[in-house]
Structures are given as C-alpha cells and as structure tokens.
C-alpha cells in the first residue's frame, strides 16, 4: 500500500520521520538499523559555528519521559555541509536540516549556506530549543519574533520550509499562524516541554544545565492537543511529534491532524521503532480499507 504523503512541498514515502537530535548524521544509526525505514530524516540542530554543548549530566529519566540538555552540540553548518550531509545522502531518504540561530541574521546566513547544498530537501527552523541561552526558544514564544525568524530563512531558502514550534507558550496557534504568514510550508511540533528534576541525593538540579527539555510518551497528550489546535488554525501540513512510540500513537497524531509524525525519544529506546511503526500503520490501513494517508489526516476533528 502507498503510505506516501505530502508534507508541504515534498513528499515522503511513509509518514514516519526521524526527529531532530536523535539520529546524529546517520553513521551510528546505520550500525543498528536501516535509515531508509524512515520517510525522511532530520539532522541535529545546526548552528553557524560549532557548539560543544552543555555541561553534563545531560540526561535524566522521568516517569515515561526523558529530560535532556544536550545544548545543540554540532560541528557547525560548514562542517555539516562538507562532511556530514554527503555521507547521509548515501541513503536514499529526504534530508531535513534543523537550524538554529542566535539572531535573525544568523538564521538567514545558515539558510543561505544550505541553499547551495544539493543534499538538502527541506529546512526546519528551530525557534523552540529550550537548551540554549541566546535565541533558542525565545524566537518561538512571541509571534513577532517567530515571524521574523521564519522570514529571515525564507529570504535565502526557496525550498520547503518547516517551522518547529514550542509548546511552552500560552497559545501555540498564534505562533503557527505567524510562521505560515512568513512563508512556512509546514509546521512541526512539539519541541520539548521545559522541565527539570532535582537529584535529591545531591540536593541539586539533576542536569548540569539546570533546566532541560522533556520528551517521550509523558508529553504525548500535550503534543496531540497542540497538533489538534494548530491543525485548526493553519492550512499547511503539520508534522506531529512528542512521545510517538507505537503505530497507535502515530495514528493518534494523524487522526488529530498530523500529515506525518516524527520519532525522537523512541529511536533512542528502540532502534527498530520506525520499522515497527511503519509496518503497523500499513497493516492498520490495509485491514481498515484506508487507501491513502490523507484520508485519515485530521479525521477526528469534530
């Protein structure tokens, strides 16, 4: 059965995408699984200059959730273009590059460099990273900044443009609208929820960077609600994520309005998750007489 779906200017062969930050540049994952199980892959948050990331500890387990404070560790856009993307491009899967700037100008500059790279299918503008000091989530918590960051990228990137939204706001629909007004062809959500934990043995925050981003099944109800709201507010496709661990979870997002889902934490815990989820969606569709993904996108909207 054909599971392909349009996600705003490009088509993925199945609606299961690798979320940013959990696949490295494919090298490690390829030792365990097949990258082309995914409909598309998103690379780790890419910045203008290399970043070493935050002080450890960077990981803390919570009930059905994961707190991380990696801090956009990446080799910088130039190195990504020359070294990592060509390597990832060996696999026949569309590449989405997740980008993060500290200023609007930086966003534009990164986008420009990537516009010249043949391996990039789409950009995902990260206005929602809770783990960096300047920029990061700030762009995603105010509609004006969200608009300007998107616009900055739009100026130098003509292709499919995804804006990744944060749930740490009073009204996520406003942000989605601002992104679409500025030229986004797709919105993805949710990035992590801002959270923290205390290590009671040491009487101090569990993460070296104090606060971190919460992901995994724990956040799924918040993510589904955000997808539901955003689907009602904009007409571009939505990529849903936040705690997708099973094909049932994927269908929950799709029925709420997501054209595709992305897997973050699931890939960390279960390398074969993408395969299981794609297979699960496939057999669900077959046994329920569903012949195109688009016919169930948003079907639960009342």
């Amino acid at each position: 059965m054909d599971l392909s779906v349009d996600v705003g200017g490009f088509v993925v062969k199945n609606p299961v995408i690798a979320a940013s930050g959990v696949l490295g540049y494919g090298e490690e994952y390829a030792r365990v699984g097949n990258i082309d199980w995914f409909g598309a892959v998103t690379v780790k948050g890419t910045t203008l200059r290399p970043r070493h990331g935050n002080c450890p500890p960077r990981i803390w387990e919570t009930p059905s959730g994961l707190l991380n404070s990696i801090g956009l560790q990446n080799p910088g856009v130039d190195e990504v273009i020359t070294h990592y993307l060509p390597q990832l491009a060996q696999f026949d899967v569309p590449i989405i590059v997740n980008i993060s700037g500290e200023t609007y100008e930086e966003f534009q500059e990164i986008a420009k460099k990537l516009a010249d790279c043949p391996h990039v299918t789409a950009l995902e503008v990260n206005v929602s990273c809770p783990n960096v000091e300047s920029g990061g989530m700030a762009f995603g918590t105010d509609p004006g900044s969200c608009y300007r960051a998107t616009k900055a990228v739009r100026r130098s990137w003509p292709g499919p443009l995804i804006v990744k939204l944060t749930p740490n706001v009073t009204n996520i629909s406003e942000m989605a609208k601002a992104a679409v007004d500025a030229g986004a062809t797709c919105v993805s959500l949710i990035n992590t929820l801002l959270g923290m934990a205390i290590d009671i043995q040491n009487k101090r925050p569990a993460l070296g960077n104090i606060k971190g981003g919460l992901s995994g099944p724990a956040v799924k109800p918040v993510a589904v609600r955000c997808v539901w709201e955003v689907f009602q507010s904009v007409s571009v496709p939505v990529i849903g994520m936040g705690g997708v661990f099973s094909w049932e979870d994927a269908l929950e997002f799709i029925m709420a309005g997501a054209s595709a889902v992305a897997l973050g934490t699931a890939v960390l815990v279960d390398p074969y998750a993408p395969k299981k989820i794609v297979d699960g969606i496939q057999s669900y569709c077959e046994s329920n007489g569903i012949d195109s993904m688009s016919s169930i996108v948003g079907i639960a909207q009342v």
Binding site: P56, R58, I59, Q73, T265, D270
Partner: protein, 276 residues
Amino acid sequence: MSQLDILDVPAKVISVDRREGDAFRAILYAPEIASRAKPMQFINVRVQESLDPLLRRPFSLSDVNPHVGTIEITWMVVGRGTKMMTQWKPNQTVHVLGPLGNGVGPDFLENKRKLILLAGGTGFAPIQLLGVRAREKGVDTILIYGAKSRHLLMNTDRLKEVGCKICTCTEDGSYGSKGLVTDMAELQLELIAEEKIDPENLVALGCGPTPMLAAIENLFADTNIPLYISLESKMACGYGLCQGCAVRAVDPQRGYYRVCTDGPVFLAKDVELESE
C-alpha cells in the same frame, strides 16, 4: 562504514541468581551478541515491557560464551531498574541491544607482560572478562579490588581459577585488607617496580566510581605505565545518537566524548573526570 554490527535481540533469560552480598547475575541467551562481543563492551537492556522505566539500562558483559551463545551480566541493586531485573524469570525474553562501546581489542594486550586491573564496587563486572582473556593469552594479571564493605564486593572466584593474582580490600575492613584501592595499588606498584619491567610492557585498566578513578590516575601519573579507565554516565541510547553521555575531553578543541561509543574505555589522560 561498518554496518549492522549492533543488534537488538530478544534474549532468553537462562538464569538469574544472587551472588555474594548484594550482587546478582543473569545469564542470557543471545548468540548474535556473544559472537561479536569484546571485553569491556556492554549491552543496553530493556528492563521490562512498559514505558516506565522508559530508558534501557547499560550493563557490562561480565562474561561471554560464544560457543553456547550466552552472555552474562552482574549487577548491584541501586534503584528501580536493577531491582526489577532481580525478578526476571528463566525463559522470559528481555530486549538486549549490543554489543556496545569500543571495548578492548586484541591489540590492547600486544607486547604486554603484565596487566594491572583496578576495580571498585560494580566496576569489577567488566574487568572479569578482560582478566579471563588476558590469562588465556598468558599475560600476568593482577586484580586490585575494593569496595565500601563486604556485601558490595562481587565474587572473584572466576579470576582466581584462571590464575589471576587477587588483592581485595574494603573500606570498613569487613573483608580483605582495610583500606582503599589506591592504598593497595600503591603497594603493588612498588612491588612491580622491583620487577623492573619496561613500562611499555605493562598496562593498567581501572573501572569504578569517579573518585577512585581520579585517585588512581594521580597514582599512575608518576609512572610511565599506560592507564586506561572505563567510564559510566547516564545514557539515553547507548549507541551514539543522543550525545547525552558526554564526558569532557582534556583537549578543549575536542569538546566532549560520548562514553557509549568513544568509550567506555579511554586513555586516562584524554578525559576530564568531573565529579558529577
């Protein structure tokens, strides 16, 4: 790019038993992992089929038997996951990802006449397999092993059997000498110095809590003996994806290493031991 050399397999539990003190041992049937594993590698285990606990738990391979297809892990109960593992029942299936980490390859013991193993607490688990392999190669092996108290010591019989020299100590004196691993190591280094072996023919490897590793690093700084250490850190994936298991590199250009793929075994001089 070496592909598909790490597997996630449903491993059958052969046995779970309580060892000395608080330690438990499980033998799992996982021939694909057993045939690939090197000493000092580890596996990442899904403790039970539930979303809580969410993450897998990393455990070193304390023994591997490629002929019968089994792997062994040895652990102490420190929290929920390690407690749940004590409830595993023979014939049940657990998901095991491995073998993970760089481990110690065949060249590690090349030209070596003597291997000095330093272990603290559960740090003994991976050391056991390395000791066995070293003895198989005829390398003189000495184990210096300490813990806070007797019930935190793991069983060292297997190494004794293969002819490894064993010095045990506890901080409270409840077993072996009273004192720290470093006290005993100092003593042994003096004895080794008397043997006048070229430091190039010696190699040391430590595994245990960070303060112990820091202390032995200090001790070895005065010798020319290459010292390796095996690190632990909180892991989300165990196979290189998340950058969560970072440890700071001494070289500031390098930033951080990942314990799971760049390690867990590092040359002591390459990494900064931060007190978590």
